[in-house]
Symmetry: C2
Subunit: 428 residues, 2 copies
C-alpha cells in the first residue's frame, strides 16, 4: 500500500496500486468524480469514473483507494490515479470548518484556534514539512562534521542568562526554572565531544507580544571546540545553511513546488562590525542613533536593506557587539575590550542567529562574572568547565520558527509554529 | 586538522597529520612519553619521543599535535600517532578530580555531581554517544518510512493523562503544565501527515525515587495512521529496533568496542496477552496475583525471565492491558471490552515502550471519556481530531534513557541520562 507521492512517482506507469489517504476534495461530475487524496507528503489527484458504483465521498473521510497510476505531465506531481475501488475506513462526525482548502481568507486567530483542521490545508502542511526538512538537513550536516547530538535538561536550578525572563516552577519543594537555552550544557560537553549540537525547545517568559517572538520555540544550537576565531563559527553556519538548502532542493522538490518558493543560493556572506553597521545606516538613511549598545529592529531591517541594495545578499553577519549587551560568557575582543567576539546573522531584515566565541579561561571567566555583578559561587558546576580545562570554543543558536518565517516571507512567526505559545495562547 | 578517529583511520599510513584534542593521559618514560589524546569520538594513542623537546603535558590541556600516523594492529583503533610537535592552546586552572580515568570506583553521587569532569571518562563519553547513535538510527528508519518529524509544545493548558503527576507553572497569569507526553499533538497531526514522530523531552512529576524513573526524560514517540491492528505498531517498532542496531553496527564500530557490548540481533518478537503472562508467571514461579489490572515490576522481570528461558529472547510484547489501567484514548478490544488494543514492550525485565491503537471515532471517544469520568468539554481541541475525521491509528512512546540502561546492563537509569533530574537533583 502506498502512503507517499514520492513512492507513487517511482512506481511504473499503469501500475495497479492502492493508496491510503484522506478525502481532501471531491467534485461530483455526474458520471464520474474528481477526487483529491491527501497522503503523507501531499495531495494526489484522482479520477473516479468506473461506472455505476461511484459513491459520494464525504470530505475528510479516511480511505484506501485502488486503481491505476496514469502519468500525466499536467498533473501537479506528474501523475493521477484512476480509481476503481474505494474502501472507506472512517467518516467524520461533522463537516470541518472551511479552513482546509483555504479558498476564503482565514484570519490568523481562526487558523490557530482550529489548527487541528487548518493544518490539513496543503500549503500549511508543507510549511511544517519544510521545517522538518530543514532540521534533517542541519542534522545531516552537523553529523557529517563530527558534531555529537546532546540532550540537555530543560528543568534546572539556574540559568545561562541570569534568571530574567524565565518561567519558574515548583519542583518537589525546590524552586526551578525552564531552560532558556542549552548554553551551559553545550559548553560543558565541549571537552567531552569537542563539537556538539542540540535541536530542542527553549522557553522565554518575555512579556512582549510581537510578530517575531514566541514564548516557546525550537532552538538549533551548536558549539565547537578548537576554533581559531569566532569566524569559524560563522563559516560553519554558512556551510550548514548552504548544505541544508542543497539537501532540500535534492530531497524535497515536491515540497518546494507546493510552497512555490526557491531557496536562497548561499555564496559568501559579508561581515560588518556592529559599530560600522550602525553608523552606516544612520548616515545612509538619515537616522539618529538612539541606543549605542544594541540594534533596534528597524536598524536590523535597514542593515539588511543596505546589504541587499549594495551587495545583493539576503544574509549579513553583524559582528563585535558591545560587551555591555552580551552575556557574561561572551569573550571580549582583545583589541578593544568594549566589544565582544560575537555576531548575529541577519536574514531579510531580522536576526535569526546569535553566536560567538566564549570565555574558556577560568580566571578570565571568574573576573568577567564579578565585573558583570554575578556571584561565581552561583555557577559552581558551570565553572568546573573552565577550572578543569577546556579548549577555545564558540557556538550559536538559531531560532527555527523565525528562520522559517523569513524563508517563507511570512509576516508573523505564529504561522511557522505548529502550536504557537504566546503570552495569551496555551491551546491547542 | 583531524578531529575524529574515524577520519584518522581513513588517512594513509605514515601520513603527516595534525590532530586536535584534550590530553587524556600522559606517561613520562624519561626520553619519551605516552600520550592519550581525547578527540571528538574517542581516545587516540600517541608516542611523543622526538628528542630533547619533549615537554610535560598537563592532563586536560587542550592541544593540537602534529606527527606521523603509524598503523598498528595492537593499538585500540588500529593506529597510533608519533608526535613531533605539540601546540598547547589552554591548560586547566586545577587538576580535575580523579574521575576521568576511573581507576578507582566512583560513587554514582560523585559521578553525577562532577558530571562536567566524569563525562570525560572514555566509557561514559561512549554511553551518550551511543544514545545519540540510537536516536540517529531511529530517525533514519522513521524518515525512510514516511514519518514526518514534528515539534509539539511542551507548555500547555491541559494534559494527555488527566493532570496527575504534572509539573505546574505560572504562565502570564494562567495556570499551565509541562507536557508529560506529545500524545494529543501526534494524534492531531495524523490526518495531516498520516505518520509522525517526535524525539523530545517529557516531564513527569512522579514522586517516587527509583532506579528506573526520571522526572525528565527523552521520549521517542511515533504515531501512524491507516493501521489494520495495533500489531502494525509493534511490527514497526520491531523493524525500527532491528534497523537501528544494524545501523549502529555499520556506522559506529569503534563505539561498540569502547563499550565492550554487542547489540541484540532482533528476529521475531513473541506476543503474549497481559492475562496469559500474568497467569503464566504466577504458575511458573509460584506467586500470588496481587493486582489483576497492572504488572508489578517483579512480574515484568519474571515474564522476561520466562521468555529468556523458554524462547531465548530478550524482548516480548505484552498485549491487551486492562481498560481500567489504560488511558481514555486507548481503543478497547471489540472481542472483550475489559481489555484494550494496547501493548508494552518488555526488554530484559523492564517495560521500555507503551503503545497501542487509539480511539478514532468521535462518539466512541466521547462516550469513553464520560465513562472514565472526564468532561469532554475540557478536551475541545483534541476532540476536533475525531470530530472532523481521522483514520484508524496508533503509536507508541519509548523511553530513551531506560532503553540505553538496559542495552548497557546498567542498574540505575541516572547513569544513562547526561544530566539527570530526579526528585532531589536539579543540578548540574
Amino acid at each position: 500500500m502506498f502512503v507517499t507521492i514520492k513512492d507513487l512517482q517511482k512506481s511504473e506507469e499503469k501500475a495497479e496500486i492502492t493508496v491510503a489517504g484522506m478525502v481532501h476534495d471531491f467534485k461530483d461530475m455526474g458520471k464520474f468524480a474528481f477526487v483529491s487524496l491527501r497522503v503523507a507528503d501531499g495531495v494526489v489527484q484522482c479520477v473516479y469514473n468506473y461506472g455505476a458504483d461511484v459513491k459520494k465521498l464525504k470530505l475528510e473521510s479516511a480511505v484506501t483507494a485502488s486503481g491505476e497510476k496514469i502519468d500525466d505531465r499536467r498533473a501537479p506531481n506528474g501523475f493521477e490515479i484512476h480509481i476503481k475501488n474505494v474502501n472507506v475506513l472512517s467518516v467524520p462526525h461533522e463537516d470541518a470548518p472551511d479552513l482546509i482548502k483555504n479558498k476564503s481568507k482565514t484570519s490568523m486567530d481562526a487558523d490557530l484556534k482550529y489548527r487541528v483542521v487548518s493544518l490539513r490545508n496543503n500549503r500549511r502542511r508543507a510549511v511544517f514539512a519544510l521545517q522538518s526538512a530543514l532540521v534533517a538537513g542541519f542534522r545531516a550536516f552537523l553529523s557529517q562534521n563530527a558534531f555529537t547530538e546532546i540532550f540537555s535538561p530543560k528543568i534546572g536550578a539556574g540559568s545561562a542568562e541570569g534568571g530574567a525572563n524565565m518561567f519558574k516552577l515548583e519542583y518537589f519543594g525546590q524552586k526551578a526554572f525552564l531552560a532558556q537555552s542549552p548554553q551551559f550544557y553545550k559548553q560543558m560537553l565541549i571537552p567531552v565531544y569537542m563539537r556538539v549540537f542540540e535541536i530542542a525547545p527553549v522557553f522565554r517568559a518575555e512579556k512582549h507580544d510581537t510578530p517575531r517572538h514566541l514564548n516557546e520555540y525550537i532552538s538549533v544550537d551548536f558549539e565547537m571546540g578548537f576554533i581559531d576565531s569566532f569566524k569559524d563559527i560563522c563559516e560553519t553556519e554558512r556551510n550548514m545553511l548552504k548544505f541544508t538548502f542543497d539537501y532540500i532542493r535534492e530531497n524535497y522538490p515536491n515540497l518546494l513546488s507546493t510552497l512555490k518558493i526557491e531557496l536562497p543560493d548561499i555564496k559568501e556572506i559579508p561581515y560588518v562590525t556592529f559599530r560600522e553597521a550602525k553608523e552606516a545606516v544612520a548616515a545612509k538613511y538619515n537616522r539618529k542613533i538612539k541606543d549605542p549598545y544594541d540594534l533596534e529592529p528597524e536598524e536590523e531591517r535597514l542593515i539588511s536593506q543596505m546589504y541587499k541594495e549594495e551587495f545583493d545578499t539576503d544574509f549579513v553577519f553583524v559582528t563585535h557587539y558591545p560587551d555591555k549587551k552580551r552575556p557574561f560568557y561572551a569573550k571580549n575582543d582583545p583589541n578593544d575590550e568594549k566589544y565582544t567576539l560575537s555576531f548575529d546573522l541577519l536574514y531579510k531584515g531580522m536576526e535569526i542567529t546569535t553566536g560567538g566565541q566564549r570565555v574558556h579561561n577560568y580566571e578570565e571567566q571568574y573576573a568577567k562574572m564579578e565585573r558583570k555583578g554575578l556571584a561565581p559561587a552561583d555557577f559552581e558546576s558551570y565553572l568546573m568547565l573552565h577550572k578543569y580545562g577546556c579548549p577555545p570554543h564558540g557556538g550559536l543558536g538559531l531560532g527555527l520558527e523565525r528562520f522559517c518565517m523569513k524563508i517563507l516571507d511570512e509576516a508573523n512567526i505564529r504561522t511557522t509554529s505548529l502550536f504557537p505559545r504566546d503570552t495569551a495562547r496555551l491551546t491547542p
